[in-house]
Amino acid sequence: MTSVSAQYYDGNNTRRHAVTLTFAQGWLQVRGEEISRDESLNTASISEKLGSAPRLIHFNDGAHCEISDHASLETLLTEAGHQPLSLVSRMESHWRVALASLLLLLAGAVAAYLWGLPRVAELAAQRIPYSTAHQIDEQALQTFDHGLMQPSKLPITRQQQLQQEFEKLRRGYSLPEYPLQFRASPEIGANAFALPGGTIVITDEIILLAKSDEEILAVLAHELGHVSERHALRNLLQGSIVALALTWYVGDISNLLATAPTLLLQARYTRNFERSADAFAAHMLQAKGMDAAKLATLLDRLETSHRGKNRKGSKLDEWLELLSSHPATEERVKNIRQIKPE
């Protein structure tokens, strides 16, 4: 018969009594110099084991015992026909279980990031109307206009002409009807991009780089592909969810830093987004009787012009370039050229 040494407190004052616990004739017997009580283990509440912290047995009248001798207590509980350790306590006491939990959590996090997150963002994006997301565009444009971009230097007539061709291209598709935004931006260079709410911004630089209007329309068709599939909004949602998760995970003072990594994580569209925007553009251009290969031609030229620019870029730029999930232009050009008319 096991006896366990314990500290006893009666719940009325802070006096400590040294006692021994034994289990006999169906009762937990608490015996000390001034203490003698028999308790049923079924009505007493036995705390779960938490590491090597003392365990407590509380009795109904507010008295309790503190036990630090874990091995003896477990033996006593087994003798009394009680499960000495709860399932969670047993899990917590093994390094193997801890390691398995860690691996499961990591696998879960990776799976959530790779599959769960894009799916959730897609579903959420479908439920946000263009008009709601359009507020983001207006704010973004305001920010851009405070330095990163300047008003377009193209003649008004040229802008109006492109605007009309853009509207013709878009006609017949259920796409938001925001006007094309012309901007000059030596910093961004030749580029066109879709904002989360469906606004498309095009730089003077890419218009000047293009050899024909068809090439410009090809790029715009590609951007309409991003708009149609809400790629920018989905990226934004994904980034926000990651930022939120990181803030929660890192917590406390370090949440100041938590937003920085998301800038890197959501730097560019994924290859999938680019590929599907290309496919959308190819079909749109074919439907309007235009040449889809023009998109490939301009992409080729963009690639060459970017390479020339990057050569004088800083080391940091190159490093950032490595981190970004920039799709390989060559592969995209090949894919576009393969898209056959239906």
């Binding site: 719940g11 004052n13 802070t14 912290a53 507010g62 503190e66 801890a98 940091l316």
Partner: protein, 346 residues
Amino acid sequence: MHTEGLNIRFTGKGGEYFRIWIVNLLLTVLTLGIYSAWAKVRRMQYFHRNTWLNESNFDYHGTPIAILKGRLIAIGMFAAYNVMINFKPLIGLAILLVIAIVMPFLLVKSFRFRLYNTSYRGLRFGFTGSFKGAYLNFLLLPVASLFTLYLLAPFTHRQIKAYQHNNSRFGQTAFSFDAGAGQFYLIYFLTFLWFLLAGALLGVGAYFIFNHAIVEAAQENNRQMFMYIGIGVYLLFIIAMLLLVPYFTSRIQNLVWNNTRLGMHEFESNLGAMKLFWISISNFLLIIFTLGLFKPFADVRMARYRLQSIRMMPAGDMDTFLAASKQDDGAMGSETAEMFDIDIAL
């Protein structure tokens, strides 16, 4: 009689707590967050039961359901505010106002919950602060301090600590608090001086480090370069905050505990700013580099240092504290039915 005082001991171990933490994190994820209330009880129990004073440990009695209730209330308020402020800003602001108005009420409930669910040698702690006092100290004074450009902030801080400690009890025995507002003003003033000094040093440092880069950036009108400089200054600012926060925290903890009594028994706290700084910065870096896995070790390390820097200076027998009578018990917050805990740290 004891003359050296009784040190608080903390016996939690990083590796042991890591296992508890990771298993409970997994269970929390698997139950979509619901288990987090059970995990919190386990965490609180682990830390309380490993805290020792005079060879006896503390205990925590909060129930997961009460914690779950409090979390639902908090999440509900947070979500209502965040959704509304984006779509109907006026309603969002109204919700914020309602939150501000009910906050002192919730705080009192939460203090009662936390203290009543803490025990030592079988006696419960308790909180007897009035709602009136809570509205004065958690709503009126902070608003007044806002309108006086925070000149009232140290006074408010003192009043809040006085309200909390003067209304706390261990069994029948009341805590008392007698630090003056002047001592709080001194700590705030010194922290502010350190802030100015750190700011000046940072400014000079940033000037020397980034001078070349700023000139270059200005010449080339290089936005990206400006952005990197911005990030650099931001990091320096965080380092300064990492220095100042431990200084402030340690001075306040020492002031508060050196002026708190339990009946006739006194306390002594000698938390060192440098030691606290070292622990917080190394914890911070290790948490970042281990992608958060160091968190449980960091928690144990911080709890050990903060708890072990407090001593109790008994003025008499430690065995004679009495439990509150049944009548007082109700006032102290044992009305379990309506209890819930709100995770607000003050």
